[in-house]
Symmetry: C2
Subunit: 192 residues, 2 copies
């Protein structure tokens, strides 16, 4: 295996998290899904489930941030609306190819853990912050004034999350298309 058991467990945790939520995902499930030796979990993650979930979240945030940062090079005529469509397209592809089982790990964790004290909340904050900063930075590069980029990034990620929720409930990508269609004119109007 190219990646060691440790990395596979983080990845598996992220995937199970996305489908069953953090409370619904057991350590034993993760270990089995990763094909990892059960005894290794406590060796690699002495911090227990919180540590595993936290690392899964940061891994996912890095993935999302990289995807955002890679947009500029791939588009012929880059624009804020194009960036948003690029972000949404990833989810359309995911849903079309793999079904609607998996949602966003950040949303899953917030839904389960934001209401109580948990060490994971700090990592959620970090993950969401990283994602938002990546979007905001890209927006600035696309001509959006710096003082508005943060709020626009919040809107973009927020609308995406909401549309993901709709899409999973309806088992249909139409909500994703609808949000892109409605938001695009607004997003491009931000350009200087």
């Amino acid at each position: 295996m190219a990646h060691g058991p440790r990395e596979r467990m983080v990845y598996s945790a992220a995937q199970l998290l996305r489908t069953r939520g953090v409370t619904g995902t057991g350590i034993r499930d993760v270990v089995e899904h990763a094909g990892a030796p059960r005894g290794s979990f406590q060796h690699y993650f002495p911090g227990g489930k919180d540590q595993l979930v936290g690392e899964a979240l940061l891994w996912a945030a890095g993935f999302a941030a990289e995807r955002v940062a890679s947009y500029a090079g791939t588009a012929a005529d880059p624009s804020p609306a194009g960036l948003f469509a690029h972000m949404v397209e990833q989810w359309k592809a995911e849903f079309s190819a793999r079904g609607y089982e998996r949602g966003c790990p950040v949303m899953a964790t917030v839904a389960d853990l934001a209401g109580e004290e948990s060490a994971v909340n700090e990592q959620v904050r970090a993950a969401l912050g990283r994602w938002e900063r990546a979007v905001a930075a890209e927006l600035v590069r696309l001509g959006v004034p710096g003082e508005r980029a943060g709020a626009v990034a919040t809107l973009m990620i927020g609308a995406l999350e909401g549309a993901i929720m709709f899409a999973r409930v309806r088992r249909n990508v139409a909500p994703l298309d609808a949000v892109v269609a409605e938001l695009s004119p607004l997003l491009d109007s931000y350009r200087t």
Copy 2:
């Protein structure tokens, strides 16, 4: 007690669901929170936890729909942006008064259950549909063309849900304000 044990259990289920997610909420917790006799649960909800969660969802959807429908009468100069601000205002008040423990029950349920087969998914679909139809109907009344009202309602609810997620993570209502500020011009541009 004005409301019987049955209604109190539905209400309590909704509240606990919002803070801990559906998987994280136990029947015993709900019964205790409702101050209801434990033995009554299986009498009023022979369908078990699924039935209880489903009813909590429909109750919440009715609450949200009523709130939306009541907008027209309360505003001096009603508009789509005003409706959205009205919806968001409810959450700002909730967070300011009661903290960030409780999120949206629909989001909580989707995050935990949308990935697997569950009888609750049908009720989630119904709840979200009812909420969206209420918003769309109100939009039509405010002058938004009928063929776009659905998509705009999806955008509004989706953006609200995303902003709720941000607000809970950051323990701050700023994301709610940001989304209203950014979306308002777009929303009012839909008016005929």
